[in-house]
């Protein structure tokens, strides 16, 4: 069943790992956008999470502390975005871009002296004999805890948005902030909370890149993963389970092109390495066309600031 010497079980297992960073980041951004905020700073929050997580893990020797550090750093950066957009009413697109530019610089500054270091390893969750099951054992029971955590977060966000009062309020705020305000909901505070959640998720996703996926620190390590996460939110039509599908799809493409490069396929390396970006564009086109389908499921107040004037 192998082709180019690639084992399908290994391929699927590694795509699940490759998908974790973008899945976490996209899920966080989904909540942010559901609340009506467009934060284009995902890339910046991810890379700051990547270096902060890396430093925290290396200094403490514990990957868990690393992930917490990444989440904290991502949330801290998103707090800047939240203060600017929610209280100083700055343009969300411009502020998100600023966040990314700032985050890239900050991570590179903070990362000096951390090149070439190995972070503490995160081991696979011991499932005992389950991991020995042929094919499925490799796919389902051979991963580190973050892989399961990210899927659990999808389920959690899905449940919260669909069935809880908190989720209803978040959706309401993203749909019509004027109406939510007149019913007495604190629009800006609810959005602040969502932005912080999005920042923490992006930071954690970034930490996964530097702690497990690569694992080491180099400048610009996230290489556009934050932007792909943004695209996945559109691809997912703002539905959590579709984020899972989207992330696995992109994880698959990344892993496949790396494997094909390694296996010496006859497709030129350049085409392979640009393929994730080209496929992202293709997916965006497909999702947006067809009489604005993406537009219909997008939260109605997405990207608009709210100021209670009277």
């Amino acid at each position: 069943m192998d082709f180019y010497g690639i084992n399908p079980a290994v391929l699927i297992a590694s795509l699940m790992v490759a998908a974790v960073p973008i899945m976490l980041a996209a899920l966080g951004e989904l909540v942010v956008e559901k609340a009506g905020v467009l934060n284009l700073g995902v890339e910046g929050m991810m890379i700051v999470g990547a270096i902060a997580g890396f430093i925290a893990a290396v200094t403490s020797g514990s990957p868990v502390v690393g992930f917490l550090g990444g989440a904290l750093a991502g949330a801290a950066l998103s707090l800047v975005f939240a203060l600017l957009t929610q209280f100083l009413l700055t343009n969300q697109v411009a502020t998100g871009l600023a966040l990314t530019l700032f985050g890239l610089g900050l991570s590179s500054l903070a990362g000096q002296g951390y090149n070439g270091i190995k972070p503490p390893a995160t081991h696979a969750v011991p499932f005992g004999p389950l991991a020995e099951i042929p094919f499925f054992g490799r796919i389902l029971f051979s991963h580190d805890w973050m892989v399961y955590f990210s899927v659990a977060m999808i389920a959690l966000v899905w449940w919260v948005l669909r069935s809880t009062r908190l989720g209803l309020i978040i959706r309401a705020v993203g749909e019509n902030h004027e109406a939510a305000h007149s019913l007495g909901y604190k629009v800006n505070r609810i959005r602040l909370g969502c932005i912080l959640f999005g920042g923490a998720m992006a930071g954690m996703g970034g930490a996964y890149v530097s702690l497990i996926r690569v694992p080491q620190w180099t400048d610009g390590i996230t290489a556009g993963a934050g932007w792909i996460a943004l695209a996945i939110v559109v691809f997912a039509s703002w539905k959590p389970w579709r984020v899972l599908i989207g992330a696995y799809l992109f994880g698959g493409i990344t892993v496949l092109q790396l494997n094909l490069q390694a296996a010496g396929a006859r497709i030129p390396v350049e085409y392979l390495s640009m393929s994730p970006y080209l496929i992202t564009i293709l997916v965006l086109v497909i999702m947006s066309s067809g009489r604005g389908r993406a537009g219909l499921s997008a939260p109605a107040a997405l990207g608009q600031n709210f100021h209670a004037s009277r």
Binding site: F102, W227, A231, S288
Partner: protein, 362 residues
């Protein structure tokens, strides 16, 4: 407690005042950052902002200022047109690279012919390269309603891959002993972009930037197209009511900004950079976003903002060699500048009231 109160009419004073306040705040916050890095903040600020203009090596560094400001201004003006219309081309870096690659290809294809027509052809090809790269997100947006932010950004990564391929493959110097990088343009006279006035740092890119700034200023102030661009950005429905064709506007704004970014790339690669190499691009396409906002999306403001941003580059390099300031610190500094700028901007549309004062006044 602070409270924001909307001004009935935007404040004129703060429209001009905010960039100045933002620069001052950034210097303070940057000083803190430099102090945290263990450097003397005053020495660093002086090295960045004073020495390149009036220091010992100012005679050389002042020229460098124009070299760096040229591409920043050229790109930022194009971006500002789009931002004004609510069209977010943030892939200028990719358009800049493609302009350089396609323009350089034309020049290198003519090697070693010497003709006065070669450089103009390269300029056209450079503009075309940036234009066509910007047309991809433009057409996808108008045909399929695809988000131009994400598409133009994805195309940066694609352009960088193409650049790598050009430097190591199809444009590699056949006499370069297998090293990556194209032939040098400085030794190919017909295709080079030399300094026009010795020591000034002015090359064709700087000329193009200044001319463009003038033209775009007139366009925005006096021409109906400029009015339509502003209208579309401020009130999209009113723009449609006026009769703006959104498709044409997207194609126009994206096209202009792409062509200008492509031009900047061509001028850079045939001049200061000197050859196509894997990493000749140094992020001007992204920094230009900051320049555009710092100049308040106004062409004349952008000229000043471009010079200021060039100063942070030149001064930053000085600080790196003289004081050992990490070059990433300058990137952080520039990012902070954009934050402060956006934050302070609230003053032009809102009044800040201190509720405590108001109560006491009653």
């Amino acid at each position: 407690m602070l409270r924001l109160e909307r001004r009935p009419t935007p404040s004129r004073f703060w429209q001009y005042g905010t960039p100045v306040v933002a620069v001052v705040l950034t210097m303070i916050a940057g000083g803190l950052l430099f102090a945290l890095l263990g450097k003397d903040p005053f020495a660093v600020i002086r090295t960045i902002f004073w020495d390149p203009l009036f220091g010992e090596f100012a005679w050389y560094l002042r020229g460098q200022l124009l070299v760096k400001a040229g591409p920043l201004i050229l790109i930022a003006i194009g971006l500002a047109l789009g931002f004004r219309a609510g069209i977010w081309n943030i892939g200028a870096e990719g358009q800049y690279v493609m302009g350089a690659v396609i323009g350089a290809s034309v020049g290198l294809a003519a090697y070693p012919t010497e003709s006065r027509l070669i450089y103009p052809a390269m300029v056209l090809a450079g503009a075309f390269g940036g234009w066509i790269w910007a047309m991809i997100p433009a057409i996808l947006k108008t045909r399929f309603n695809t988000n131009e932010i994400l598409v133009s950004l994805m195309l940066v990564y694609v352009a960088e891959t193409i650049l790598a391929k050009a430097a190591t493959g199809f444009l590699r110097n056949p006499e370069g002993a297998g090293f990556p990088g194209s032939r040098s343009f400085s030794s190919y006279k017909a295709a080079s972009n030399p300094e026009l006035i010795a020591g000034s740092g002015l090359h064709w890119g700087g000329v193009a930037a200044l001319v463009t700034a003038g033209l775009v200023y007139v366009l925005l102030q006096r021409h109906i197209l400029g009015f339509q661009i502003k209208l579309a950005g401020q009130a999209p429905r009113a723009a449609r009511f006026h009769g703006v064709n959104p498709t044409r506007l997207v194609v126009f704004c994206m096209g202009i900004s792409g062509a200008l970014a492509g031009l900047a790339g061509l001028f850079e690669v045939s001049g200061p950079a000197g050859q196509i190499s894997i990493d000749f691009n140094s992020g001007y396409g992204f920094t230009a976003i900051i320049v555009a906002f710092l100049g308040r999306l106004n062409p004349l403001g952008i000229v000043l903002a471009g010079l200021l941003m060039a100063l942070t580059y030149v001064g930053g390099e000085m600080a790196a060699t003289n004081i050992g300031l990490p070059s990433a610190a300058i990137q952080v500094f520039q990012g902070m500048l954009l934050f402060f700028l956006l934050g302070v901007d609230v003053l032009s549309n809102y009044r800040i009231r201190f509720l405590l004062f108001v109560k006491e006044a009653r």
